[in-house]
């Protein structure tokens, strides 16, 4: 299953001559056989032999079972250089001197390592004569790689001629005919309006919308319906969410050490929704997400130009404390992976440690792309034009200046108080001593000696014997005092401290700009007395305000404060900032085996070679991120249009024409309708890369309108419905389900965009697309209903059915709240139970109930309520409708 490579049979004839002479030495051969070979066999062959290579267990590309193998060396270079024990990787790794330490299960005894050293020193005589065929593949054949179907440009196709009208239908029918399949009939009108409304908006149609459509006899009724739905802002909320899966959109990181959530992440989500609603051409959609910051247009709409950068700007950030380069490599991998699978449907990340095993992507290509991001940062960019930003910054500078004046005012008040207290140091010390040794009450000294309680408390703490070792030298004698020292001794020691403190200038407590002495003195005594958080004479501005601002100067303080408020009011509101990736573009070398510690050849910044023109001249300028954006968005790129066309198809039909939407490589699926895929890709680009155009092409077909019903004959040949002979019954994804529960019960809040809400709030009524998405801990409801892990790009959702989901439907506060609201709503929609049941069916299922359904309902509703239950029978019934399969699965 290997990609075509040229297998290099290694011939080592030129080296043979030298070796023979040494090998003739029987003693040397004996040494090898006795000391070297057994160790190699026992300790190394498991991972470094032809046998290991065949079992796919070869490590580091190094073979040790043949002479040719060790002469060639491994990924990290030559293993053994005969006669030169200091060279080569082999002995180093036996000695555990570097990154690679061998054997992995523990160091060999020193004597054995010494044997190897001697053997190498003596010329590494190795009598083994086996040759090897698997030394190393010589790289990928890019020219051959270009022949793969998805790497060839899509070609305009001749539309088959048959009974169908639309070109899509004609392609599809051609396959039916080819496979002997007969399509099932079309779905009825109620099913269709429900299907397409869910499909385009993620919500059910209202009963009025259903009736209007059913009553519309015009041949354009279906098209009108589609046009209306595509214009609804609900469309962007639905379809934007699909893209957010691909973009692995989230607002935080999987881990919490040293990272903070991205508070404006929602701007990217809103950007995506808006792009869908505005039908932004897909090539622009691509460019703006990769390099909006480097583009000139749209010049004035900064939101549009920058907020899409969240695609990578909200990417993974890992813990970089110890293995920094490794963590950076992982972050780069997140970018390369999301970018290439997302836009190109290629698994370029597979080439991180070795050439891609199945696709024509050499390791160098991986690092050519990664290098575009090497050294770049995930930062924020204000969504304001330069003049607006300047205005804001200037205004903020004024606010800061005004705040500083307040601080200095308070600092001066504190300084004055500290100065006063410093003059009374001896008294404070004596009081502190008595408080500690004689349990005297501090208040006593405040009233008797006029000491300040604030400073006294600080002195008591400062002079705690536990602090003796940390205190400045001037306190040495003081701390030497015994608890029962005589008052005279205490007095003398206190006076001594005070006399030494007299020489200390009281510093400015709040640093004053351009004034050397202030706040940042280097004198340790000054710091310990006045500036440290534990200093006895330190006064924080807030404390100064509480205690040392006297009534006479209070008006002045109020005036300064007023100025702060005035400046704040005068300032424009802070511009929003978008999360972007910027800077860097430093380029990289190949990391051999993906290991940042073993760097290989240069990997100049660039694009995938297999997608680049073969005759391209070496670029004059380094390849930039903008070049990357253009290379992806280029109409010449064989993948970009195919991949998005296929994604849209898959989101409509539940299955792509290529059923691996993010893998168009050789391990991915082959297209079921290759001609149709090419046709759509070509026409899509021709039609301005408009997604709304594409939706219409797909929805205005007969194949889209087939009923979701089985057919025994077709099941035998195509049970998986690959050839689309029937419609697909789809389970609503969690967003559509929750939104519909809110919608049907009359609770849905349709506000567009803005900051996220928390789904754990059972009373939250906004659409689910606006909920908080966490990589650290995905919300329980989302997780339960198959929302993908937001750490990695996702091309589709799993559909699993487990009892915990049903516990949510049966017992959750959210469900109960919707059931109550729905019952309330129904009460007003009819006078009898039967009328209300009819209204319920129209709201929940877009159809009238059948007789037996109505009977079942009425029988249930008649059962007497039990006193211990807190839900009425109507509420219980409403909940059953909301929890039903018909609500969850759309035909």
């Amino acid at each position: 299953m290997s990609w075509p490579r040229t297998v290099l049979a290694l011939l080592v004839a030129p080296l043979f001559a030298d070796r023979l002479t040494a090998a003739d030495d029987p003693k040397a051969v004996e040494f090898f056989e006795a000391k070297i070979r057994p160790v190699l066999v026992e300790k190394c062959y498991k991972c470094h032999s032809e046998k290991a290579a065949k079992a796919d267990k070869l490590r580091g590309g190094l073979l040790l079972d043949t002479v040719a193998g060790w002469q060639k060396g491994g990924d990290t270079g030559k293993a053994i250089v005969p006669g030169k024990p200091a060279e080569g990787t082999f002995l180093k790794s036996l000695r555990h001197e570097g990154e690679i330490q061998m054997p992995p299960d523990g160091k060999l005894p020193a004597a054995v390592v010494a044997d190897f050293e001697k053997w190498i020193k003596d010329g590494a005589v190795d009598p083994r004569t086996d040759t090897t065929t698997t030394v190393k593949a010589a790289g990928l054949d890019l020219e051959k790689g270009r022949q793969f179907w998805s790497l060839q440009s899509p070609k305009p196709q001749t539309v088959p001629t048959n009974a169908e009208q639309s070109s899509i239908d004609r392609f599809v029918r051609a396959k039916w005919d080819e496979k002997g399949l007969r399509p099932v009939p079309q779905a009825d009108l109620r099913t269709l309006v429900r299907r397409v409304t869910f499909d385009l908006t993620g919500l059910p149609p209202t009963p009025e919308e259903v009736e209007a459509f059913v009553a519309d006899q015009s041949p354009k009724a279906w098209e009108k319906l589609i046009n209306r739905l595509l214009k609804s802002p609900r469309y962007g909320e639905r379809w934007g969410r699909y893209w957010l899966d691909v973009a692995r959109y989230a607002e935080d990181q999987a881990h919490t050490f040293g990272v903070t959530p991205k508070k404006n992440a929602y701007l990217y989500r809103d950007w995506v929704i808006q792009a869908f609603n505005d039908d932004m051409p897909y090539d622009q959609f691509v460019r703006l997400q990769v390099a909006g910051d480097l583009m000139a247009e749209p010049k004035d709409d900064l939101f549009k130009r920058l907020a899409g950068m969240g695609f990578l700007g909200l990417g993974a950030e890992y813990y970089k404390n110890t293995a920094r380069e490794q963590a950076i490599a992982e972050e780069l991998d997140d970018r390369v992976d999301t970018l290439t699978r997302g836009f190109l449907g290629l698994t370029v990340s597979c080439a991180r440690c070795h050439d891609h095993k199945f696709d024509p992507i050499p390791t160098r290509d991986y690092y050519s792309i990664a290098g575009i991001y090497y050294g770049s940062n995930l930062t924020q960019s204000p969504l304001a034009k330069p003049d607006e930003l300047k205005k804001y910054n200037d205004a903020q500078a004024k606010v800061t200046a005004a705040e500083e004046l307040v601080n200095h005012f308070l600092g001066d008040a504190g300084k004055a108080a500290a100065k006063e207290a410093a003059a009374l140091t001896a008294k404070y010390l004596e009081a502190a001593h008595k408080i500690r040794t004689a349990k005297a009450r501090p208040q006593e000294f405040v009233s008797k000696d006029g000491l300040n309680r604030y400073f006294l408390d600080r002195w008591v703490k400062f002079l705690d014997p536990a602090n003796a070792s940390k205190a400045p030298a001037v306190f040495k004698d003081w701390f030497a005092l015994k608890a029962d020292a005589k008052p005279e001794e205490v007095g003398t020691a206190a006076a001594a401290v005070q006399s030494k403190l007299v020489s200390v200038d009281v510093p400015d407590i709040v640093p004053v700009k351009n004034k050397k002495s202030a706040g940042k003195t280097s004198d340790p005594l000054t710091k310990a007395m006045f500036l440290d958080a534990t200093a006895p004479l330190f006064v924080a501005p807030a404390d100064a305000e509480k205690m040392f601002v006297t009534a006479d100067v209070k008006p002045k303080l109020a005036e300064l404060r007023g100025e702060v408020e005035k400046q704040k009011k005068a300032s424009p509101v802070a511009p929003l900032t978008a999360h972007i990736v910027s800077g860097g573009e430093q380029g990289m070398k190949v990391y051999i085996r993906g290991n940042p510690a073993t760097k290989g050849e240069d990997a100049p910044k660039g694009f995938l070679q297999v997608l680049s023109k073969t005759d391209a001249k070496p670029a004059a300028k380094p390849f930039t991120r903008l070049d990357l954006a253009n290379a992806i968005a280029s109409p010449d790129n064989p993948l970009t249009a195919r991949v998005i066309v296929n994604r849209v198809w898959a989101w409509h039909f539940g299955r792509g024409l290529v059923n691996t939407p993010s893998n168009f490589g050789s391990l991915g699926d082959r297209p079921s309708h290759p001609e149709l895929l090419d046709h759509l890709a070509v026409e899509f680009v021709k039609n301005g890369s408009s997604l709304k155009w594409l939706h219409k092409q797909i929805l205005l077909t007969n194949v889209y309108r087939l009923a979701a019903e089985p057919n025994a004959d077709n099941n035998k040949t195509d049970g998986g419905n690959v050839y689309l002979w029937r419609g697909t019954r789809k389970r609503l994804d969690v967003e559509a389900w929750r939104d519909s529960l809110l919608g049907v019960s009359g609770n849905l809040d349709e506000t567009l965009g803005g900051p996220t809400f928390d789904l754990r709030d059972a009373n939250a009524k906004r659409r689910t697309v606006y909920a908080k998405i966490s990589r650290h801990e995905l919300d329980g409801l989302l997780r339960l209903f198959d929302f993908p892990d937001a750490n990695v790009t996702a091309d589709r959702r799993n559909v699993t059915t487990v009892p915990q989901q049903q516990l949510f439907a049966l017992n959750s506060e959210f469900m109960i709240a919707q059931a109550k609201a729905f019952a309330n709503r129904l009460e007003k929609l009819g006078k009898t139970d039967a009328d209300r049941v009819t209204a319920a069916y129209h709201l929940a299922f877009n159809r009238p109930p059948e007789a037996k359904e109505r009977e079942l309902a009425v029988a249930f509703l008649k059962m007497p309520a039990k006193p211990s239950d807190t839900l009425t029978r109507w509420q219980q019934y409403a909940q059953a409708l909301l929890a039903s399969n018909e609500f969850l699965y759309v035909d």
Partner: protein, 459 residues
């Protein structure tokens, strides 16, 4: 019928590598396409006969010190305060001289394996325990260490071992979550440690912080209806669903959900019962002792006896074993709090015969330095540390591998975390190289491209 499977079996098979293809296929083909078979959590046939059916991982998060627990180093006393000959080994922080263990070691059991005095009860079980003294891991930081131990990768983007086990083997009790994580709050890193990552969401570990049986699982209780009324409501719902399904013959996913609703109804009583340790005899409860960890150990036993595939018990929130300062006080307190419960769990499992099919793993994400940090603490150490295994077909009364004379670095019969994973999977009947999931164009494994089964410790 092959019409519209939920999480279709075909897709599941398409996504599995050759090895699991067989593993998954065997069970899927063995049964009709009933709801049971459609469930991705239905029990599956292993690669080969399994020695163990369940795993209990007692995670001493924060990293207990090997030289103070299971790896006695008399040389530390002799060279106390001196620089070790292994100087130059880097850990997270700079450490000082060698620091002797404040604890005495005692020969225990028939095997005479030495165990620290802080674990007298575990010591009594030593003949059922295999201590691995030659563990090593990649990075001396909690985050990558925890992730490697739980998910086999130092970054949070891989499924956890419990998720892999569920994916490979399913679980034996469909009325309980198959992979349960007990931790009073969150360990460092948090949910990524029991994440399903790219595996389907059903394989995610079910984290339970509060052991109150009425609150263990989200929405387990109906606060509004008596069980009798809820039954009436469910009968109504079944009636609606049946009429709906009758018109859509052959759609397995609709039947699967009807079954699933019934299961949920039963789960309300069964799950509550499984977590209710108050149903245990007083004597048993006394044997385990008091506190969250003791209750969690007892809960773990109740869960595995009901067929839960894996239970991971974190010793506590944050990183409790992380004694950078005062190793003596810190380790003594935590050992005193956990010794009885761990031993009680082992004895309890042994009495009921469950130990034979339950593999118990005790250990942290790394060890600690034999050198001192500050005056009396120890730094993280990834070069060498100890864990122990018990039950599940692993030899008892064995000390495997060794560290250097000071316990700094594993030197003999080294066992990497990947090797430990490979061994655990092996005991569960899984070839770790064949349990794969096709994602992003390649087949992923718990052990990535590493891992060797440590055959010497297998009974």
């Amino acid at each position: 019928m092959n019409f519209q499977m939920p999480f279709t079996r075909r897709e599941l098979l398409a996504r599995t590598g050759t090895g699991l293809g067989a593993l998954g296929l065997a069970s899927l083909l063995a049964q009709d396409a009933t709801a049971e078979a459609a469930s991705p959590l239905a029990p599956k046939v292993a690669h080969f006969p399994a020695k163990a059916k369940h795993v209990i991982h007692l995670f001493m998060n924060g990293g207990p010190s090997q030289v103070d627990t299971f790896d006695p180093k008399p040389a530390l006393k002799k060279f106390h305060g001196q620089q070790p000959t292994t100087a130059g080994l880097k850990t997270e922080r700079k450490t000082g001289g060698l620091y002797q263990s404040p604890f005495a070691f005692k020969k225990c059991g028939k095997s005479g394996i030495e165990v620290s005095e802080i674990f007298p009860e575990i010591g009594k079980c030593i003949d059922d325990i295999c201590v691995i003294r030659s563990m090593h891991t990649n990075i001396p930081n909690h985050e990558p260490g925890l992730l490697l131990m739980t998910c086999g990768n130092t970054q949070p983007i891989r499924p956890s071992m419990g998720s892999w086990l569920l994916y490979g083997l399913g679980t034996e009790n469909q009325n309980l979550p198959g992979f349960v994580v007990l931790c009073p709050g969150k360990p460092v890193v948090g949910p990524a440690l029991w994440n399903n990552s790219f595996l389907p969401g059903v394989y995610q570990g079910c984290h339970i912080a509060n052991l109150d049986p009425k609150r263990v699982i989200d929405h387990i209780r109906n606060k509004n209806l008596t069980p009798e009324t809820q039954r009436e409501q469910l009968d109504l719902l079944n009636g609606l669903n049946k009429m709906h399904a009758d018109k859509r013959a052959g759609d397995d996913q609709l039947d699967a959900r009807i079954q699933s609703l019934e299961m949920a109804f039963r789960m309300q009583t069964e799950a509550t019962d499984a977590f209710d340790v108050s149903k245990e005899a007083t004597k048993t409860r006394e044997e385990y002792g008091k506190g969250y960890f003791a209750d969690a150990c007892l809960t773990a036993r109740r869960l595995v006896e009901r067929g839960v595939r894996m239970v991971q018990v974190f010793y506590g929130s944050g990183q409790p074993w992380d004694d950078h300062g005062d190793i003596e006080k810190g380790h003594r307190t935590k050992a005193a709090d956990s010794d009885k419960a761990v031993a009680a769990l082992l004895r309890d499992l042994k009495r009921s015969g469950l130990l034979e099919e339950t593999l118990v793993l005790w250990g942290g994400e790394f060890g600690r330095t034999p050198t001192s940090e500050g005056s009396n603490g120890r730094d993280h150490n990834h070069h060498g540390f100890s864990v122990f295994l018990a039950g599940g077909g692993v030899k008892g009364g064995m000390a495997y591998g060794s560290t250097d004379e000071f316990g700094f670095s594993a030197v003999e019969k080294k066992v990497h975390v990947h090797d430990l994973h490979a061994t655990i999977l092996h005991q569960m009947g899984i070839n770790h190289e064949k349990l794969t999931y096709r994602y992003s164009g390649r087949d992923f494994r718990l052990t990535d491209v590493h891992g060797v089964v440590v055959k010497d410790i297998l009974a």
